[in-house]
């Protein structure tokens, strides 16, 4: 049973999402937190592809479409997040999350 490809893919992606969660919770550097969130988004994309490949038959390119749009949204998120990091660094001269605790610049 555990040699079926679909549960293996799902286990792979859940391990990846938990790694991203651990990274985002444990590190205090903003860039590493953002990279953990990127890993979690990638794990969601893995699930889309796994169900597209092994799930019930739908229209032929549905999963691929979903992953394309998801990658585009993730890229936009990365760009905005890193711009925010640079803006925070300019105010605080530091990108530790614990020290970014003021709303006023």
């Amino acid at each position: 049973m555990s040699l079926d490809p679909l549960p293996l893919c799902l286990l792979f992606s859940s391990a990846l999402v938990c790694l991203g969660l651990i990274g985002a919770l444990a590190r205090s550097n903003t860039i590493l937190v953002l990279l953990g969130i990127e890993l979690m988004l990638n794990a969601a994309n893995l699930n889309f592809i796994a169900f597209w490949r092994y799930g019930p038959v739908t229209s032929p390119a549905t999963g691929v479409m979903f992953v394309m749009f998801s990658i585009a949204v993730a890229a936009a998120e990365a760009a905005v997040g890193l711009a925010l990091i640079i803006a925070v660094y300019r105010h605080q001269k530091n990108i530790r999350l614990q020290e970014a605790n003021r709303l006023k610049g």
């Binding site: 999402v17 651990i22 550097n29 590493l32 893995l46 597209w52 479409m65 640079i86």
Partner: protein, 187 residues
């Protein structure tokens, strides 16, 4: 076929875990690029070639460069890419949380019966070639994807274009220096 999947999974998970536990940010970014390559290899394994190449272009090509720029722009001195040690309590509680979530997910996956979902005609393992036999699996050629993008998903394509434009303009506005007033005062 399954062995290739396990190999890809182990590579991706190992590089991601090491990347998120290192203290040198440059090494972390480079290891995450390897992890994204592993995810692209998974897409190739699953038969979604176009997504694999999009992953390589977007993540390995673009997002990694943005991350490296952010690392290098937010350091205080030339050697300041090694960050201070994080607190151990937070790391332990994060690992406990992650393992708990993983346990819930694994229990849910193992209790679900996927036999009803999988296509009936999946052939058994083929010896020899590493290429997976793709019979009764969905295929999406670039032509299919282009036709779908221009017909059924045209509205979504336009919206994602607007979203990307707005997000990148917003990123430029956020990251830009706001010091034009001193320039105006100087002759």
């Amino acid at each position: 076929m399954t062995a290739a999947l396990i190999l890809i999974a182990v590579f991706t998970l190992a590089t991601a875990a090491v990347a998120l536990s290192l203290r040198n940010l440059i090494h972390s970014a480079l290891l995450l690029i390897a992890s994204w390559f592993g995810i692209a290899a998974f897409y190739l394994w699953a038969g979604a070639e176009f997504v694999a190449f999009a992953q390589v272009l977007v993540y390995v090509g673009a997002v990694s460069m943005v991350v490296l720029f952010a690392v290098l722009l937010t350091r205080r001195s030339r050697a300041d890419t090694v960050i201070a040690r994080d607190s151990v309590e937070r790391a332990i509680s994060a690992v406990i949380t992650g393992i708990a979530v993983f346990g819930v997910l694994v229990a849910a996956i193992l209790k679900t019966s996927f036999a009803r979902l999988s296509p009936a005609g999946v052939p058994p393992l083929q010896s020899g070639t590493g290429v997976s036999p793709v019979i009764s699996a969905p295929t999406a050629t670039v032509r299919d994807i282009g036709m779908q993008l221009m017909s059924a998903h045209a509205a979504a394509l336009l919206i994602i274009g607007i979203l990307l434009t707005v997000a990148l303009l917003g990123a430029v506005v956020l990251a830009a220096q706001d010091a034009p007033e001193s320039k105006q005062e100087s002759p």
